[in-house]
């Protein structure tokens, strides 16, 4: 079991009505691996990672997350979601709660942790993303970069084994991108298994074990960063890289 992959996706297909969004996706992610998914918009990257915690449902193929298959009949989807943290493009913090309340919500209601204990843990996480001084503010009072760091801390609150990032920096001002990427890099150094959809190629080159390039709902190319950037195998990848890198 030790070597079985954290995530195993086999022949995954998904349609929105008649639109075929994902076509025969095969992907497996080992423990501690960091995967970056890139590609033009509409290529199905976000849809793919949203299938992994079943915020989107698939019609064909199979997804196993830590040994559990995601099927329509799945009883305990919330247990799977607990192990898979997710960070969204638009942060999606709960605006009617303070930063601290955002973080303790799930531990208090799901794990039934006593409030004090949950808050203590939340503060450690806020410290980890260097935002502990803002704990009692409302999300609306924070900058975009700060909000996204809070969102990361919120996802970490349930001690997930896998983290999914859905374009975590694309709604941010350029000067705030770095503070968010630094937090994600730190997580990567700590050995978190993660899949990150992003256009930040510098970040991808630095931390990714593998880069996946998607277009038209298919995985076009999958390679180690060094190979991916220097010797792209497909013309489509080459064209994408030349557009995004200069």
């Amino acid at each position: 079991m030790a070597d079985s992959p954290m995530i195993k996706i086999k022949d995954l297909n998904k349609w929105y009505a008649n639109f075929h969004v994902l076509k025969n996706i095969n992907l497996s992610v080992q423990k501690g691996e960091i995967i970056v998914i890139c590609g033009p918009s509409g290529s199905g990257k976000s849809t793919l990672i949203r299938c992994i915690n079943r915020i989107e449902t698939h019609q064909k193929g199979s997804i196993h997350v830590m040994g559990t298959e995601l099927t329509p009949k799945i009883k305990n989807i919330s247990a799977v979601r607990r192990d898979v943290g997710m960070v969204f493009q638009n942060f999606d913090l709960f605006p009617h709660m303070t930063v601290l309340e955002n973080l303790v919500l799930a531990p208090c209601w799901l794990l039934k942790l006593p409030r004090k204990q949950a808050e203590k843990k939340a503060m450690t996480l806020l410290e980890r993303v260097q935002i502990q001084s803002q704990a009692h503010k409302m999300p609306g009072q924070l900058s975009g970069g700060q909000q996204q760091r809070v969102a990361i801390a919120r996802a970490l609150c349930m001690d997930p084994k896998i983290m999914l990032f859905d374009e975590p920096t694309s709604a941010l001002d350029p000067e705030m991108v770095k503070e968010v990427l630094d937090v994600i890099k730190q997580l990567a150094r700590d050995g978190m298994t993660m899949i990150c959809v992003t256009h930040e190629m510098g970040f991808a080159r630095q931390v990714a074990n593998r880069i996946i390039f998607m277009d038209g709902g298919e995985i076009v190319e999958e390679n180690a960063p060094s190979e991916f950037f220097t010797h792209p195998q497909w013309d489509r990848t080459q064209k994408f890289l030349s557009q995004i890198l200069d």
Binding site: I55, S78, R82, M86, F88, L105
Partner: protein
């Protein structure tokens, strides 16, 4: 090298014509020619109407508490009429010797209102109090459990109006929320039933519902099943109001970005918790103004119960005006009636504003 020292310029008062009373007048009443014209028209109108109104209602009015020394030569209002009829207007025909019971009920209810407005208790306790206090208050007024019974046909006046409104509001908000959630449910049966309920009730005027509840329902129900008139009317009011509240709440639910639900789902929260903790609080915050609007409307709509023979506050006003001993006091009666309704409705909307201010984020 010479360093120049910076001294800030002294603060000067603003120019004479843009500050104080004159500044305010200029900004608000005479900011343009049209605005100035309207201001003058309004002043002229008030000049003509206000003094006669004040002299009728206050200066020339009769204020004596007992009818003994009412002089008929005064040209103003005769408030003695209101004082004499006060008990009937407030409590209807409730027996005079048992009057301490509704008075105590009013005191309990008033205290709870004050505690709510000034937030003297925790929100959780306040909600519980509003949910459970109506029951003992009901027994206090109705009798039972040792107290002599008072027949419900004797209840009336403002007591009946506020009673119907308070119970109506307390029940119709949760039912309305459930209907709104049901209408957005993914279960087809629940959804269809919610839509049917909401649309059927909204398609019918309140008068018709009250009439059905009071007159038609007893015909269809089995002989031995006897729900009293007041309860039937109360249920009619609750159903009517909850259909409207459901649509108000649905508007709020639709305003919540799907990302909120997805974020809560991704934490592993069960779907009812997502609704309860994340979606509903935000949705309700969005609809406070229209929700309070519905509550005010419900309170005023209780005056329609007169068509099924219940004498609420307005009904008692009408009845008092027809008292042969006190003919000709219509103006006093209706001015008083309007004033009471206005004070209650205005307080409700002010309270609504204060919850809005408290829940800004």
């Amino acid at each position: 090298m010479d360093i120049k020292i910076f001294t800030p310029a002294p603060d000067l008062p603003p120019p004479f014509e843009s500050a104080g009373v004159i500044g305010w007048l200029k900004d608000n009443l005479f900011s343009s020619k049209t605005n100035g014209l309207f201001t003058l028209i309004a002043i002229a109108f008030l000049w003509k109407t206000l003094p006669p109104m004040i002299s009728w209602a206050v200066i020339d009015a009769t204020w004596s508490l007992t009818p003994g020394n009412v002089s008929t030569d005064k040209t103003g209002a005769c408030w003695t009429f209101i004082f004499v009829k006060f008990r009937v207007l407030m409590l209807g025909l409730y027996p005079e010797n048992l009057i301490w019971r509704p008075v105590l009920a009013f005191l309990v209810f008033g205290t709870l209102c004050l505690a709510t407005v000034f937030r003297l208790l925790k929100t959780r306790i306040l909600i519980l109090a509003w949910l459970f206090l109506p029951l003992p208050v009901f027994f206090l007024i109705n009798g039972g459990m040792g107290l002599p019974l008072v027949e419900q046909s004797l209840w009336g006046g403002l007591m009946l109006s506020t009673g119907l409104a308070v119970v109506g509001i307390i029940w119709s908000i949760p039912i309305g929320i459930l209907l709104a959630l049901g209408r957005r449910s993914s279960l087809p049966v629940v959804k269809a039933m919610s839509i049917a309920t909401i649309e059927c009730i909204r398609g019918v005027p309140l008068i018709t519902i009250l009439f059905m509840a009071s007159v038609m329902l007893p015909i269809f129900l089995p002989q031995d099943m006897n729900i009293n008139n007041l309860l039937r009317v109360q249920i009619g009011i609750i159903l009517f109001s909850s259909a409207y509240i459901a649509e108000v709440v649905r508007g709020g639910l639709q305003a919540i970005h799907p990302g909120q639900t997805e974020a809560a789902d991704s934490l592993g929260l069960k779907s009812w918790l997502v609704t309860w903790l994340v979606v509903l609080p935000q949705a309700l915050r969005h609809v406070i103004p229209s929700l309070i609007g519905r509550c005010v409307a419900l309170f005023k709509d209780t005056s329609l119960v007169i068509i099924v023979g219940l004498l609420d506050f307005l009904g008692m006003i009408k009845a008092s005006v027809q008292d042969p001993e006190w003919l000709g006091y219509d103006a006093e009666a209706y001015v008083f009636c309007a004033l009471v309704y206005w004070v209650i409705c205005f307080s409700m909307s002010q309270y609504g504003k204060s919850i809005e201010r408290r829940n800004q984020w």
